[in-house]
Symmetry: C2
Subunit: 351 residues, 2 copies
């Protein structure tokens, strides 16, 4: 299912499982590309209604417009991905910021990362409970500290010192996520956690509860790449669990010489595969095109290990890839080609 | 400065900045290799005394022997690297476990990671204050949870549930590290943190305070690779800062098809370079030998970004690399060749 909002030139290759455009001309300066996701596997076709679908498309488009407005004016990919992710964090439909899932303790613990491809600078935060927009805290870590990764209460103190908006933990409460936690805890009390013989249905439900991340990647008019990811993690997570979202090289990576990537899925498997850097390195050292490298990791290696999920990527030439091996992935892109003036925008939920 | 303990066959190539052995025969089954480090850049030649040097060599050898005893009997590389790191964690000479540096709040916060190259399973913990041997907690995360990375108090609860040894935070106190914290805080109160115009001497002192990690990598008689890293992080660290040590792909990585790596140095730069996975991917997709890949990252890309440090690595053929761009790196190896019965053991501090 896809929704076409404004497409001056629709490329049929965008309709597949893993979309990719033809390369833009070598001289891509002046063009821009923005790709976003709102999580993979969080919803099944059975549970989707036309009205609900409409809300997701509208939310994805709102985020795309926020980023595109920056890119259109010649702004940086870094500003664009942060702006997109802030919109998605503020939207309770997605598992990041407002709308984040609950931990086993009944609180919301948020993780985020951002990376700038030109300088390889990066910033991340993990396990924070009071920062309204974790992605902006990650950016502050990158730009206003000597560090890359700050965690827990320490990260919250840093964000407060930097003047970021601090909210009461209750800000993140949404009734839908609270109910998800109740269902997850009931399910877990019925099944013995960690045992391999849970029912297929329970496993499927548990899988769905793992996913939910938002992210954005962009190529700006100056040819700079950036990536940003933000998440509330897994429903009912325990023990201060952190997934791939805030980990540079796994859930988030950008390098102007290759690609910008933001992942979503069963974080543990993305960590073990060092997902984003693996794709970048296949492109750099294996001379693989983005699409081939991304599909190898997401459609083959990830399920082979037992995981699933998806990712969004844009390479230095403006090629887009959005592979996923789950039932759906909220996603969309805006692409502007300077030479022709063509602007493409699409959002998708299922394959 | 190096100390030769028992060398049946000394290869001159072990004396350089970045040591490497000639490849072992293609059929390396029955051979084993173990390499360890105790941190890079934590000490300068001026401050070293013959007596102090002797203590370091003895400690490195004790750790090597603990791991080699396992490998000699046909045990797994995973068991060997855990055993080595436990010895180094229990030794107050090194910045990991007992002997960890203090945070700005005057506590010890420990990070560790372990990875098994055969299965790509991995486990990490970050920011824990009460687990005597963080490396064993990382292994428990890998083997007894569905997760890869656990943090803070949650990770401590998990370790306790798993029956790992829990200690009072005061266990980690050592007078030397406490004095380092006092010096660091005095230095930081005299210089404006984050400003680029600190004196060269202050910067050098601050750099030295960043390093200190222990790690081990091994290739066992069955050809399996494993890597383990443990650290107390940076002296005077704030805001829940986490470095590269517990991050799979950055400070720690193992993959039977390429290499096992454990890093030490200025963690932020290792995170941005996704150090360990970058080397593995250069070997896998760029067909670079270990030594070339490791030197490119450690001797060129790391200093080019402004960072420094070193790493230890062993590839699937048993080749060793131990490059570093600091004044010294505590390190050593044991290598057993089945066909000749030769056993080599060396430990080093400076170049």
């Amino acid at each position: 299912m896809k929704r076409l909002l404004f497409v001056a030139c629709l490329l049929s290759s965008f309709c597949g499982i893993a979309q990719s455009t033809a390369p833009v001309p070598t001289s891509s300066l002046g063009n821009y590309v923005l790709v976003i996701h709102g999580g993979a596997g969080t919803i099944s076709k059975d549970q989707m209604t036309p009205e609900r679908e409409k809300r997701y498309h509208a939310s994805l488009n709102k985020a795309l417009q926020a980023g595109a407005a920056i890119l259109e004016k010649g702004g940086s990919s870094l500003n664009a991905v942060e702006a997109c992710v802030r919109v998605l964090e503020d939207d309770p439909l997605f598992n990041a910021g407002k709308g984040a899932v609950f931990t086993a303790e009944g609180v919301n613990e948020l993780d985020a990362a951002i990376m700038e491809g030109t300088t390889l600078r990066a910033g991340s935060i993990a396990g924070v409970r009071t920062i309204r927009n974790p992605i902006s805290a990650a950016r502050a870590v990158m730009e206003r500290s000597e560090h890359v990764l700050l965690t827990g209460k320490g990260a919250e103190s840093f964000a407060k010192e930097q003047g970021l908006e601090i909210v009461d933990p209750s800000y993140f409460y949404t009734p839908e996520r609270w109910e998800s936690l109740q269902r997850a805890q009931k399910r877990d009390s019925l099944t013995s956690a960690g045992t391999p013989n849970r029912s297929a249905a329970a496993l499927q439900e548990q899988r769905i509860s793992r996913y939910g991340t938002v992210g954005a990647v962009a190529l700006d008019q100056q040819g700079r790449l950036a990536a940003a990811t933000s998440t509330g993690g897994m429903t009912n997570k325990k023990w201060g669990r952190v997934g791939d979202a805030p980990i540079i090289g796994s859930g988030t990576y950008a390098n102007d010489s290759t690609v910008a990537i933001s992942c979503t899925g069963w974080g543990e498997y993305f960590l073990r595969l060092v997902m984003a850097k693996s794709i970048s390195d296949r492109m750099e050292f294996g001379r693989q095109p983005l699409q081939q490298a991304a599909e190898e990791l997401v459609m083959r290696q990830l399920p082979a290990l037992g995981g699933d999920g998806g990712l969004i990527a844009v390479d230095k030439q403006g090629n887009i890839s959005m592979p996923f091996c789950t039932e759906g992935m909220y996603r969309g892109y805006i692409k502007k080609e300077k030479s022709t003036g063509m602007l493409q925008t699409e959002t998708f939920i299922f394959k």
